[in-house]
């Protein structure tokens, strides 16, 4: 098991170097001139050149990449042209907000998606099944940004129940920073008022972000429960006279979860990407909003930092998924057929 994990982590490094090359290539074929953008339209040419020198933008591309890559090894992701701070500091500042949002969405996805999928499978072909299937197709078809705007109209404007955006109201003071996730920090400070405010702000963005993943997980769970119900070992378990409860809990659900967990791993990437749109709609000050701003400012270093971070999280999430496989189905480890 340990050598396997180490091999996967080594692979992660390879993937990240590859990623950095791809993003570097993509972000440097730009026709725009970031130094000019930074200096402003009225700056004199000498000022633009000075800025280009300062940020190393005047060097040849392979050299710029080499500088970037060696910097990465020291944890230096470069300077953001937008915030004029180290990209790593920016990422660390904005990541907790996105993580909080993504975890809330993931929780909704798991807590609703798995039971709904099981329910649909057990009522296969009946009205409940059709309704769940329809909701699942609708969920993947909804543009997240449009769903978010719709929820704002209903719950903010019409019902005045929930805030329109942000992580806290303009009058609320953020909790003392420990993890950066307001819910956790408010709990640590035993500050129920802030906790309630933060939770209220989290509801709509989390629902918006979860919709797509929820649909995918529900569908996957439904399909894999249906498949498992047909398996020989389930028939055997029934033939042995085990109660339906035991058959479902011990044989069907446990095995049906395996493909669903793979899908959950893939959703880690979907959630992070979706966060860009959701954060833009709800002015949620996380990585997504940071990315949108960085992109419109041709902020190379920031864009690359985000893509590297996101792909690292994505690869790690998939490693966790593969490890979860082994726990759920020991046959995989014995056969040595784990994916690499």
């Amino acid at each position: 098991m340990l050598p396997y994990i180490l091999r996967r982590l080594a692979l992660l490094v390879v993937v990240l170097v590859g990623m950095s090359a791809i993003t570097f290539a993509l972000t440097h074929i730009v026709p725009g001139d970031p130094a000019r953008l930074l200096a402003g339209p009225h700056a004199r040419q000498e000022q633009v050149d000075a800025l280009a020198r300062l940020y190393g933008l005047d060097r040849p591309l392979p050299e710029q990449y080499w500088i970037y890559l060696t910097g990465l090894l020291r944890g230096d992701l470069g300077m953001s042209l937008t915030t004029r701070r180290p990209v790593l500091d920016d990422l660390l500042q904005y990541l907790p907000a996105t993580a909080e949002l993504a975890f809330a969405a993931l929780a909704l996805t798991v807590l609703l998606g798995i039971p709904l999928g099981v329910l649909a499978a057990l009522r296969h072909g009946r009205a409940t099944d059709h309704a769940v299937r329809f909701l699942a197709v609708a969920g993947v078809s909804l543009p997240a940004f449009w769903l978010g705007l719709g929820l704002q109209i209903i719950f903010f404007q019409q019902l005045s129940l929930l805030p329109i955006g942000g992580r806290l109201g303009s009058l609320d003071a953020p909790p003392a920073r420990v993890t950066g996730a307001y819910l956790v920090d408010a709990l640590l400070a035993a500050d129920t008022a802030t906790f309630a405010a933060a939770a209220g702000h989290l509801v709509l963005p989390a629902i918006t972000l979860a919709a797509g993943s929820l649909a995918v997980v529900t569908r996957m769970m439904r399909a894999s429960v249906l498949e498992t119900l047909d398996a020989d070992y389930v028939r055997t378990a029934r033939a042995k006279g085990l109660s339906e409860r035991v058959v479902l809990g011990r044989h069907v659900l446990k095995n049906a979860l395996i493909p669903t967990i793979t899908v959950l791993g893939l959703q880690a990437g979907t959630l992070l990407a979706g966060a860009v749109l959701v954060e833009a709609v709800f002015s949620w000050p996380g990585i997504g909003l940071y990315t949108v701003r960085a992109i419109s400012n041709l902020d190379y270093a920031a864009v690359m930092g985000v893509t590297l971070l996101v792909s690292a999280i994505y690869v790690l999430a998939n490693l966790l998924v593969d490890l979860a496989y082994v726990v759920l189905d020991p046959r995989i480890a014995e056969q040595g057929t784990m994916r690499t």
């Binding site: 791809i22 074929i29 329809f134 543009p143 990437g269 860009v276 949108v292 419109s296």
Partner: protein, 302 residues
């Protein structure tokens, strides 16, 4: 028509003809199965309607989608303007109808480019095997290790925000799925009897790939494409929404929602209709793709 046992005796050409006839017969039953499922039938009908709207948009719209009418800004829906008007007095109904064009065009271009590039890479990797396969598949994995939307955003930003560049950017992140799909199919087909037979009969590699393997990759490619149409439309609209795709005042759904956002509290219909159009279009193609996949999946044979 050759019966299957005869085909066994008829050599590679006969065997493959039988393979193809079988496929044609399957196509007919597939259509039947797609239509038998009410949800997929709805998807098919909606998709056809959308295509018709896109083709006939100039004949259908009551107003020009770009003509400014300052006297009639931000009107609510009414008989003269069924979806209301936007901040420059343009008719939202006409703009939504026109919006089918960029969406369907984008889906066609993205999936066309991605499937061609992916198919070529998949064919080469699967058929050549060895080092070439290893190299191409690691490259593919590299792209797949990225959440597609984030990479597409990076690429679109790098190329500069425009509708055309956004299509290219999305295609850049889309081909690996097809490469993997086609490679898998090639590895499976490589050992089919008719391929061995063609090889024994002295067919060149080129001929084997183009005449014997490629034609048998179409079904999975087409199923994948039909599943992807909705997602391609959604990705394009998302890029336009964050300002990296079509630029206002172009009548594109994502761009319209982006502008309409500023009027969301007082003129909610402005974002409602173009967003609804995205939802309906994506849903139509998802239902259709789902139906097609279900109809072709082995589960049916139980």
């Amino acid at each position: 028509m050759t019966t299957p046992p005869m085909a066994q005796l008829a050599g590679p050409a006969g065997a493959e003809a039988a393979f193809r006839t079988g496929r044609r017969r399957r196509a007919v039953t597939t259509a039947g199965r797609v239509l038998a499922n009410p949800l997929s039938a709805i998807g098919l009908v909606l998709a056809l309607v959308l295509i018709l709207i896109a083709l006939a948009a100039p004949l259908l719209v009551p107003y020009d989608p770009l003509t400014i009418d300052a006297a009639n800004r931000l009107l609510p829906p009414s008989p003269t303007h069924p979806f209301g008007t936007d901040e420059a007095g343009r008719d939202i109904f006409s703009r939504v109808l026109y919006g089918t064009r960029p969406s369907l065009l984008a889906a066609t271009v993205i999936l066309g480019l991605a499937s061609v590039v992916g198919t070529v890479i998949g064919l080469v990797a699967g058929f050549r095997g060895g080092r070439v396969d290893e190299l191409l598949m690691r490259l593919t994995d590299m792209f797949l290790a990225f959440p597609a939307l984030v990479l597409a955003m990076g690429a679109a930003a790098a190329l500069g925000p425009s509708f055309f560049n956004a299509m290219i950017a999305i295609a850049i992140v889309w081909w690996p799925w097809y490469a993997r799909l086609v490679r898998g199919q090639v590895l499976h087909l490589k050992h089919e009897l008719f391929v061995d037979a063609a090889r024994v009969a002295g067919a060149s590699e080129r001929r084997i790939v183009l005449r014997h393997i490629l034609p048998n990759c179409w079904t999975p490619i087409i199923v994948q494409m039909s599943l992807d149409v909705g997602y391609a439309i959604l990705t394009m609209a998302s890029l336009s929404f964050i300002g990296l795709g079509a630029q206002p005042p172009a009548p594109e759904w994502g761009a319209m929602v982006a502008v309409g956002r500023d009027y969301i509290l007082d003129q909610p219909w402005y974002v409602a209709f173009p967003g609804m159009a995205i939802f309906v279009a994506v849903m139509a193609f998802n239902l259709l793709g789902d139906g097609l996949q279900e109809a072709l999946s082995p589960r049916w044979r139980r």
